[in-house]
Amino acid sequence: MVCAEFEERLLEYAELPNGERERVDAHAAQCSSCREFLEALRSVDSQLTAQLAGLEVTPAFARLVRRRVRHEGSAARPSLVPELLDFVGWGAIVTLLGLLAWWLVPLAPVSNTKLAVSFNAQYAAACVFLVAALLIGIRSFADLKH
């Protein structure tokens, strides 16, 4: 079992400043658990570095990709859908801001008939609000997909 106070420093041994490293060395010289852990860690580092560092594709890779690209033909034309969704989304944001501004403006006292009209208008506005929010969502999704 490694000494808890040294565990972090043992794991960062290679990056430790000189003074700190000497302290760890001095401790490891006296503590067999930490010494064994440090040796095992060095073994892990050296083996995995030797086997994984700079792993590259096989020499034929680029040739195979180019052959497949030739087979695929020319690059696809850019789709207009993201641009269209972008436009719709910005339109929705402007509509939303307009609706918010309309709601925030204090209303003058109105008659019952006018109140009913106002209620219907607000109901319609709420629907528009929801649709606008949906369109903004679609736009965000399109951006994420892009």
């Binding site: 565990e7 972090e8 794991l11 290679a14 064994e36 852990f37 040796e39 095992a40 860690l41 073994s43 892990v44 580092d45 083996q47 995995l48 570095t49 030797a50 086997q51 994984l52 560092a53 700079g54 792993l55 590259e56 594709v57 096989t58 020499p59 890779f61 680029a62 195979l64 990709v65 180019r66 497949r68 690209v69 695929e72 020319s74 690059a75 696809a76 034309r77 850019p78 789709s79 993201p82 951006d143 892009h146």
Partner: protein
């Protein structure tokens, strides 16, 4: 290099842009795929798919993110799809034929059998620990590069790496003790 590729894209010279980005990113894409899938043969297949996707999508690249960020995102998505399909379930070590072949061609020495083979303990680690660990050693132990390729926060990368290296070191130490007492 990215600026030159961007210049080609701005002028709709897609073939030239692709010819420049392929040698620039082929190893990074392959390593990221290998880190995520743990199989060099499969990682090469996925890397090929990634470049075909890049080729098809190049005209639509709007430069909202860095080219490298875009390419790594495509790679991660392709790997996640492969993992979902179960293609990456077959975990491997560098001693498996396809990985050994890739390693041999890349001039990587085989594991020294006198030592305890660390790679055999890799399979016992959680998937995310394995991914971060492979990438860390492939990318010459750069935390920044691992965080950039996986698009994970640096703190997460460090935490996973510490846990993974600790588990491996403990497994190696235990194995050495068992050998010593056997």
């Amino acid at each position: 290099m990215e600026q030159e590729i961007h210049a080609c894209l701005d002028q709709k010279r897609y073939q030239e842009a692709f010819d420049r980005l392929l040698p620039e990113f082929q190893n990074k894409v392959f390593r990221l795929a290998y880190a995520m899938l743990g199989d060099a043969g499969l990682a090469e297949d996925i890397a090929q798919e990634v470049f075909i996707r890049i080729w098809k999508a190049l005209p639509g690249f709007r430069g909202q993110s860095a080219l490298s960020t875009w390419i790594y995102a495509i790679t991660r998505n392709a790997c996640l799809t492969a993992l979902k399909k179960g293609a990456g379930k077959r975990e491997s070590s560098l001693e498996e034929p396809n990985v050994a072949r890739a390693a041999e061609e890349a001039g990587v020495p085989p594991a020294r059998h006198a030592e305890i083979d660390v790679l055999r303990f890799l399979d016992q680690l959680p998937e995310r620990h394995r991914q971060v660990l492979r990438l860390y050693y492939m990318e010459e132990r750069s935390y920044e590069e691992v965080a950039r390729l996986l698009e994970w926060p640096m703190g997460t990368v460090k935490t996973y790496l510490h846990r993974a290296r600790k588990e491996l070191a403990e497994a190696v130490a235990r194995s050495k003790m068992e050998r010593g007492t056997a």
